[in-house]
């Protein structure tokens, strides 16, 4: 190594040392600290993480700074990303759909993307070699059955339906029998959009869930709640109430192709421990992806 190079390296070291020290000092004086935390807080709030969860997260981070676990201000943002990623990760390797048949029940409030997601899911699992059947459980909304039929035809799977206005639990019952008879791998059930505040409609959903449990004892049943990424704090209430009536096991987060970040799923995970399973990123048949925590958190900060 030449003399100049040595000198340069040495300088770099000291330079690094000095800036680090300055940052440390600033952190302990709370200067970078406050501004940085304000910025982080703003990012999270703008992403709909919610003020409660945001404060919980940043308070935790502040504590670590105070305890001296973090000495470098620039580490804070990365640490935050790490923690959020860890929060959003699950231990299992995805949905458990091993029995024949197994069931996915799709629930959610009006217009979040249930029927569209079912079309995409049917395609996803058909491509994995599964035999899929759809159940037209939305007998309430005008033309909901026609909408699902168009998706069934697009994907090339069978759909079981009754007429508009009939009992949705009866449709599900028939669909379960059909799935058994045809040895289908997977039955995916559509349901009418309903606000979680409507008691009678939530009861109706319970009834549907009971039919599945009763007719397919021991079968793998996944209830997926569809959340619209543009939804704000109300999504937590949605997740809580839908869980009470149908034992929600996962979330499909739709409309992430817009400008909304869907950060509310962080609050849902931290408060209710319900993991995100899929994301919707458009209206076409392929616009569904398994949820990737790292990518999701990265997008939150971009």
């Amino acid at each position: 190594m030449g003399f100049f190079e040595k000198l340069k390296n040495g300088l770099a070291k000291t330079r690094k040392g000095i800036t680090e020290k300055i940052e440390q000092v600033l952190v302990s004086f709370g200067k970078i600290d406050d501004e940085l935390f304000d910025e982080l807080e703003e990012i999270l709030i703008a992403a709909d993480v919610g003020i409660g969860t945001t404060m919980k997260i940043t308070d935790n981070l502040r504590k670590k700074v105070r305890e001296g676990k973090i000495t470098n201000a620039s580490e804070i943002k990365n640490l935050l990303k790490e923690e959020l990623t860890r929060l959003m990760e699950t231990e299992d390797s995805g949905l458990k759909l091993d029995t024949v048949p197994s069931v996915i029940l799709i629930v959610g409030v009006n217009g979040v993307g249930k029927t569209t997601s079912i079309g995409k899911l049917a395609n996803y699992y058909k491509n994995m070699g599964k035999k899929v059947i759809l159940a037209a459980g939305d007998t309430f909304r005008a033309a909901a059955i026609d909408q699902l039929r168009i998706w069934a035809n697009r994907v090339g799977v069978e759909m079981i339906s009754h007429s508009e206005g009939s009992d949705p639990a009866a449709v599900i019952f028939d669909a379960v029998q059909a799935a058994k008879a045809r040895r289908a791998n997977l039955l995916i059930c559509d349901t009418a959009g309903r606000l979680h505040t409507k008691k009678n409609l939530m009861e109706e959903l319970k009834k549907i869930y009971r039919v599945i449990e009763k007719e397919l004892p021991g079968a793998d049943v996944e209830t997926l709640l569809v959340l619209d990424a543009t939804t704000g704090q109300n999504a937590v209430a949605q997740a809580r109430t839908f869980s009470e009536s149908t034992n929600v096991s996962g979330i499909i987060l739709t409309k992430l192709d817009g400008t909304a970040k869907g950060g509310i799923v962080i609050a849902v995970k931290s408060e209710l421990d319900i993991p995100v399973r899929f994301i919707g990123i458009g209206e076409s048949i392929d616009d569904l992806q398994p949820f990737d925590p790292r990518e999701f958190i990265e997008a939150l900060f971009s």
Binding site: I45, A142, D146, Q147, G232, Q233, E283
Partner: protein, 446 residues
């Protein structure tokens, strides 16, 4: 839960801030911290919150505190007023064209509720004596046209459609022609949901607008929308120049801060609110109700309103002067009782006070009957007696008891209460003279 924490924190803060005759910067700061949390928790966009807080803070500092309120309440009162102001007046009217047909175009994100809102609007307008025509311009979502057709047949409102192979611009143009020959005076165009960043589809809306020149473009917004509401509203408004907003799904339990966000960012009025799945669940929009829903402090707000309505500031000042100068007499006492009464059932009012709970209420147990008897007794006194109670001797007491239909014991009680009160007032006013904190102006005696 955060929200519960919030309202009790607010009550704490309201309790802490008392006393001063003017709202201080510190009061405002403390209250604004809570207001900020409330607004963010309600999904109001954080930039809108920032602007709002800055503006309101300025207005609050130095404000004279109304006699009947604490500075904390005064601040909340101003916040509420500003919120209502920002939300706009009640404008649930469509701009009807002098030359029919009036053309209304519904736009918005996917799943916001355009098709249902179109049906509801047709229903409402028909009730107002119009002949509406629904137009199916959503050629993208599977079975969207069918959905509108089903709604139309349920309502008995004709639906114009040309299938999903024709461009929405051409469908809209043909529909207007059809309306002219068919004698329809109102045309409601249902368009496909789209993302505000989808340039191609936003251009399509622009082209429909150019082709049919709608008199009213309504942006349909889901009341549960979060922070992104501002981006959506801004983009649609910039591209199309919207005339109003329809807020849907208000029958959910959302606080609905998106209403404030879209209103603040576009300046356009919220004209209607969707409140259910049935086709007559479309209501006029009430800014004051929305404000208290967003703020989430309904109880505190109604207390403030009541206190303010029934408390006359001048009289309060006069009373204060008398208290200080020890001239408080039975006429003043009577007046006070009347003011108390005009505020409505006492325990209800006490119930609205921050920090009151059921248990405390029970222990207070306001005896309204006793209050009424007290009033009757005072009213049975002569003018002289009221001004100078010291002249009320045994025979006068008997007369007063008979006149008021009460007993001598009751009359004695009232006289004792009055003396008690006078003593208390002297104490208060001495405290005030010594400049002690905790006594500013006269407040309600409960």
């Amino acid at each position: 839960m955060v929200f519960e924490g919030l309202s009790s924190k607010l009550q704490e803060t309201l309790k802490k801030i008392r006393g001063a005759g003017r709202v201080t910067e510190k009061d405002v700061k403390e209250m604004m911290r809570e207001v900020r949390l409330a607004l963010l928790e309600a999904d109001v966009n954080f930039k809108v919150v920032k602007d709002f807080i800055n503006r309101v803070s300025e207005r609050c500092v130095g404000q004279e505190v109304l006699e009947s309120l604490t500075p904390g309440q005064q601040v909340i009162k101003i916040v509420n007023e500003e919120l209502i102001e920002l939300m706009g007046g009640t404008q649930s009217r469509i701009n009807f064209s002098p030359r029919p047909p009036t053309i209304i175009m519904m736009v918005g994100l996917q799943g916001s509720g355009k098709t249902t809102a179109s049906g509801k609007l047709a229903n409402l307008l028909r009730k107002q004596g119009k002949r509406p025509l629904l137009v199916a311009c959503d050629v993208y979502r599977p079975a969207a046209i069918k959905q509108l057709e089903v709604l139309g047949s349920q309502l008995n409102v004709p639906v114009f459609s040309m299938g999903d192979k024709i461009s929405p611009v051409d469908i809209a143009k043909a529909a207007i022609e059809h309306a002219g020959t068919g004698g329809f005076d109102t045309v409601i165009i249902d368009t496909a949901g789209r993302l505000h960043i989808d340039e191609e589809l936003m251009d399509e809306l622009y082209n429909i607008k150019n082709a049919v020149k709608p008199h009213e473009i309504l942006l349909v917004v889901d009341a549960m929308t979060g922070q992104d509401a501002v981006n959506v509203a801004e983009s649609f408004n910039e591209k199309l120049g919207i005339d109003g907003i329809v807020l849907t799904k208000l029958d959910s339990d959302t606080r609905g801060g998106a209403a404030l966000s879209v209103r603040a960012i576009t300046g356009k009025p919220i004209k209607f609110a969707g409140t259910g799945e049935k086709l007559n669940d479309l209501e006029p929009f009430f800014p004051d109700r929305m404000a208290s829903r967003i703020l989430g402090m309904g109880d505190v707000l109604s207390l403030i309103e009541k206190a303010q309505e029934s408390f006359d500031e001048k009289k309060a000042l006069e009373l204060e002067r008398k208290m200080r100068s020890q001239q408080f007499n039975f006429n003043d006492y009577l007046e006070q009782l009347e003011q108390l009464k005009s505020m409505g059932p006492l325990d209800k009012i006490l119930g609205m006070l921050p920090g009151m709970n059921d248990k405390m209420l029970k222990s207070i147990s306001v005896d309204e009957k006793k209050l009424a008897r007290t009033e009757a007794i005072i009213k049975s006194m002569t003018k002289k007696e009221r001004l100078d109670p010291s002249i009320i001797n045994a025979s006068r007491r008997r007369r007063i008891a008979a006149g008021s239909g009460t007993s001598i014991q009751e009359v004695n009680r009232v006289l004792r209460d009055f003396e008690e009160m006078k003593k208390m007032m002297k104490m208060f006013s001495d405290m005030g003279k010594r400049g002690k904190k905790g006594f500013g102006r006269f407040r309600m005696p409960f």
